[in-house]
Symmetry: C4
Subunit: 274 residues, 4 copies
C-alpha cells in the first residue's frame, strides 16, 4: 500500500523505528539495544554503594543523557504512527513510559530515581534481536511448542499451587509457631520453596513430625517435576513433526506462510498434503 | 432413568449440588468455590498476628457465617442422595466434615479453632472447575498419562526411599553426632533433603569423609531425577498416540465415550479401528 | 533336574530360602522382609537419645533376638547350597555378614554396636518384593532402559565431575580462603553442591567475582540437567518399542522368553518377526 | 601422504604425541593422563593446610618434577608439528602453557604458585580417553544431539538471563536494602540462585511482598526447567533416528564415513537411502 506523498516522512520514520527489513531499520534496532544495555548497566553499577560514591556524578549525567535519548525515541514512536494511542497502551509502550518517568519524577520527589531499576524491563526488546537473524525458525519452533503446552502447564501450576496451600496449612498446624512457620501465608511460602526444590533454609522444620511432612513434600516435588517436562517434551516433538510435514508452499499455487495447523491452502483451497 | 414423583425434589437437589450440566448446577459449583476461597483467605489472614489484632473480631464473625453456610451445604448433601452414608465416608465427605468441626469444637475446647487450617483441604474441590470448561480433554489426557505411569513411579519412589534409608544410616556413622546427624531418622531426613536437591542446609556435612559421601548422594540424585521424567514423558507420548488413533465415535453405531484401551465398540461389538 | 534322594532336604531348603515360586518360599521371603524392616526400625529408634533412654533395655534384647534369627538364616543359606563360598562372597552375602558382625563385635569392643546402622543395607532385599508380584514386567522394562542408558550416563557423570574439578579449582583462586573455600577439595565439594542445584548454603561465594563464577556454574547445571533426562527418556522409548515389537513367543515353535535384542528364535532358528 | 625422509622423526613424534592409533600413541596418551591426574591430586592435597604442613616439602619437589615433565611435553608438541604457532594459540595449547607458568613465575613472584590450581584445566584432555575405547559411538551420538540443540539452548539461556535481570531489578525495589538485596547485581545473583532452584539461602526475601515475588520466580523456574529438557530429549531422538537410518557405507560404492545429514554418497553421488 503506497502512502500519500504528504505522509511519506511518517512512512519512512515508521519503517526505521518499527520495522527491521531496511538497513536503516536494522541500524536503529541495534543502536537502540546498545543504548538500552548501556543505560541498564549504568543503573546497575550506580546501585552499588562503593561505585556510586566514586562515579555518582558521572552516572547522574549519563542517566539524563539516556533519559533524553529515550524521550526523543518515545516522541518519534508517537508521531510515526497514525494511532499513537495504541502504542501508548501496548505492553512495550507502557514499559517505555515507565522507564522514562523515574528521572522526571526525581525532580519533584526525592528517591524516585531508585525506580530507574524498572528500566530493566526494556530488556524485553532484546527478543527483537532474534527477528534480525537466523534464529527465527528456532524461535518460531519453540514458541509453537510452548503455545501448545500452555493449557497443560497452567493446569499443572494450578495443581501445584493447590498442593502448596494444603501442605502449607497442614505444616502450620504441625510445627510450632516459634519455628518460623509463624502464619499460614509464611507456611505456604515455605511449601513453595520446598516443592520447587529451591530450599533456601530460611524456614525449615524442627520437630520430627514436621520433618516427616517436609520429606513427603520433597518427594512429591521430586516426582511431579517430571510432569511439565513430559508435557513440553511431547509438544516439542509434535511441533517438530508438524513443521516437518507442513510443506513450505502450497503445491498448487505456491503460496507460502501457512499456519502450523492449516490443512488446505488459504488462497486456492487445495490440500497442502499429498 | 426417571425418578418417582415423590422423589422429584431430591432429584432436582442432587442435580444442582452434585452435577454441573444444568445452569443451576454450574452456578452452585462456582458459588461454592468462591465461598471456599474466601473462607480460606479469612483463615489465612487471621493467622497473621498483626492482621488478627486489627480485624480479629470481623474474622471471627465471618468464620461463623462460613461455618453456617458449609453446615447447610453438608446437610443438603446428606439429604439429596439416597445413601448418605456413602458421602459421609467418601474422601470429600470426610474433608467437608473436618472443615466444619473446628468451629464447633472451639465452643468446648479453647484452641480448637487453629485446626481451621484444615479447611484448606476443601481446595481439592477446585479440580471441579476443570470439569466445567474446555480444559476437560487436557485433564483427561494428563490423568490417563499419570495413571499409566503410576506403577513405574511407585517403584521409583520406593527405590529412592530405600537408597535414602541406606545412605542416611551410613552418613550417621560417618559424621559425628555433634554435626546435626544426631540420630538415624534425622540422617534419613538429610538424605531426602539432599537427594531431591532441595538442600536446606539446616544439616550439612562437616567432615571431609561426610562431604565425600554427600557428593555421591548429590550426583546420584542428579542422575536419577531423569528416571521419573523419562517415564512420564514416555507415557504422555503413549497417551497422546492412543488418543489420536482412537475414533471419537464407533464407525458402525456412532456410540461415543469409549475407554482409552477399547478395541471394539462396547455397544455393537464392531472394531473401532478400520 | 531331579536331585539325588540324599540331597533332597537341601533341595527343599534351597527352594524355600532362595526361590519364591512355592508357597513356603513366598512365606519365607515375606517373613524375612518383615524381620528386616522391624530390626532396622529398632536400630533407627534406638539411635534417638530420648527413646533410647526409655526403651534402651528392650531394644537391646530385641537386637539380640534379631541377631539370633539372622544368624540362623545365614547358616541355613550356607548349608542349603552346594558351593556356600559363592554366597559368602556375593554382594548380598557380604551385606548379610556385615549386618551380623556388629552385635558379636560389641561383646569385645565397646561402641561396635553403633555399626548396626549398616543393617540398613539389608533393605536391598526389598527388591525381591517386585519379583513376587505383578510389578515384574515394569521392573524388567525399567531395568532394560537403564541398562541401555548406562554408558551414556557414565560419560555424562564423568563430564560433570571434570567440570566440577575445573570450576572448583578456579573458585578456590577467585574467593579468598576466609570465605569457606579453604582448600581445593572443599571448593570441588561446593561446585558439586551448586551444579546439582542442591545448594546447602554452608559455603557460598562472598566476593562479586565469586558470585559471577557461581552464577555461571548454576546456569551450566541448569542447562545440563537436561542431558541425562533426554538420554533416559530416549532409552525408555526404545525399550518400550522393542518390548512392543518383540512377540512373546516364537511364531514357529512357541518358545517363550527370548532376549530383548533377539531376532531369531534361539530354539528353532526361525525369524521372530514376520 | 608420505613424509620426506628428513622429516621422518617429526612424523613419528607427531604420531605418538598427537595421534592414538599406534601402540606408542595410546601408551603416551594413557601415561600423560596419569601424570595429569597425579599432578592435580598433588595440587589439591597441597591446598589443604593440615596436609601441606606435613608433606609440603615432598609436594614442592613433586610439583617441580611434573613441571619439568610437562615442559618437555610442551617442547615436544612444538617441534613435532610444522606450524607450532597453531598449537600455541589453540585452546589446549593455551591451557598447557597456563598450567606451566605458575611454577616458573613463583621464582620471581611470591604467591604465584597458588595459580597452579589452573592446572585442573588440563583435565579437559580426559575426553581423549573416550577416543581410545568403545565409547566413541556414544560420544559421537551425544555430541551430535548437543550440536543440534545448541541454538535452542542459547535462546533459552538468553531468555533466562533476561528474566533474571528484570526480576532481580524488581526485587531490589521490593526488598529493603538491609535484607541482603543491597544492589542490583546482588539481586540478579539472587534471582539466578532462585530460578535455577539452587537456593543457597545466603540472600532470601524477608518482607511479605518479597516472599510473594520470590514464589513467582520459583514457580517460573520450576516450569521452565522443562524447556531445555524437552529440547535435548527431542534432539537426542532425532540424532538416534538419523543414526539408525543412515547406512554405514554407500550401497553403490561402499564408501564409509558420510556426514549425518548426507543424502547422497559424496564419492559416487548415488542415493544413500533405498
Amino acid at each position: 500500500m503506497k502512502p500519500k506523498p504528504s505522509e511519506h516522512w511518517r512512512f519512512r520514520l515508521h519503517e526505521v523505528i518499527y520495522e527491521s527489513n531496511t538497513r536503516a531499520g536494522k541500524a536503529f534496532d541495534v543502536g537502540l539495544l546498545i543504548a538500552i544495555f548501556t543505560s541498564i548497566m549504568v543503573v546497575m553499577l550506580d546501585s552499588v554503594v562503593s561505585i556510586h560514591l566514586k562515579y555518582g556524578a558521572l552516572f547522574y549525567k549519563l542517566e539524563w543523557i539516556f533519559t533524553g535519548l529515550f524521550t526523543i525515541e518515545y516522541i518519534l514512536r508517537l508521531v510515526s504512527i497514525k494511532q499513537p494511542i495504541r502504542y501508548v497502551f501496548s505492553l512495550l509502550g507502557i514499559i517505555d513510559l515507565i522507564s522514562l518517568l523515574p528521572s522526571y519524577l526525581s525532580i519533584f520527589f526525592i528517591g524516585a530515581q531508585s525506580l530507574l531499576a524498572f528500566r530493566a524491563l526494556r530488556l524485553l526488546r532484546v527478543f527483537r534481536i532474534f527477528k534480525l537473524g537466523e534464529f527465527l525458525s528456532e524461535i518460531n519452533f519453540l514458541t509453537q511448542a510452548l503455545k501448545n503446552s500452555f493449557r497443560k502447564i497452567s493446569i499443572f501450576l494450578l495443581t501445584v499451587l493447590t498442593i502448596t496451600v494444603i501442605l502449607g496449612s497442614i505444616m502450620y498446624l504441625v510445627e510450632q509457631k516459634e519455628n518460623g512457620f509463624s502464619n499460614i501465608p509464611e507456611s505456604i511460602y515455605w511449601a513453595i520453596v520446598t516443592i520447587t526444590t529451591v530450599g533456601y533454609g530460611d524456614i525449615s522444620p524442627i520437630t520430627p513430625m514436621g520433618k516427616f511432612v517436609a520429606s513427603v513434600v520433597m518427594l512429591i516435588g521430586y516426582a511431579i517435576i517430571a510432569v511439565p517436562t513430559g508435557i513440553i517434551t511431547h509438544d516439542i516433538a509434535v511441533a517438530a513433526k508438524s513443521k516437518k510435514e507442513m510443506p513450505e508452499s502450497c503445491p498448487s499455487c505456491s503460496l507460502e506462510g501457512h499456519d502450523a495447523d492449516a490443512l488446505f491452502c488459504k488462497h486456492c483451497g487445495s490440500s497442502l498434503f499429498r
